[in-house]
Symmetry: C2
């Protein structure tokens, strides 16, 4: 079973890395960029099981390890 | 206009960071994890324009800056 956990910064949290990428894109001549925010994505292969159980396990993983819930949001998607 | 560029390692490329996360999840008692691969996600706010033009600009951004196409794949999604 495949799943994807996406971790992004909460709005309001400064993202200097994103700002740097924004500047670099402008220097490269790519126009119209208003803002860039960088996040992380985890592609996880997990043993087959009921969808709800897998989602619970991955939420636990995100809370405990993958995301810093003080400054980051996470989203768990179990792929079909 | 919002868009998301997802950058993931090509299959076959070693991912020591993913391996470390995999080990850590096991130690935390989260069961059934077979593999983890980490990637990056860029949430981009871009000036409104025709969808094809925006996609072309973002593909250029990914090729030039966001992804290392020797070892990484990228995917551009323009959100509605």
């Amino acid at each position: 079973m495949k799943a994807r956990v996406t971790v992004t910064l909460k709005s309001g949290i400064l993202d200097p890395q994103g700002k740097a990428i924004e500047g670099a894109l402008r220097l490269l001549g790519i126009e119209g960029i208003a803002s860039v925010r960088q996040g992380k994505v985890f592609d996880i292969e997990i043993a087959d099981g009921d969808r709800a159980g897998v989602e619970t396990a991955l939420k636990k993983a995100a809370e405990k390890l993958l995301a810093n819930t003080v400054i980051e949001n996470y989203r768990v998607e179990v792929l079909p």
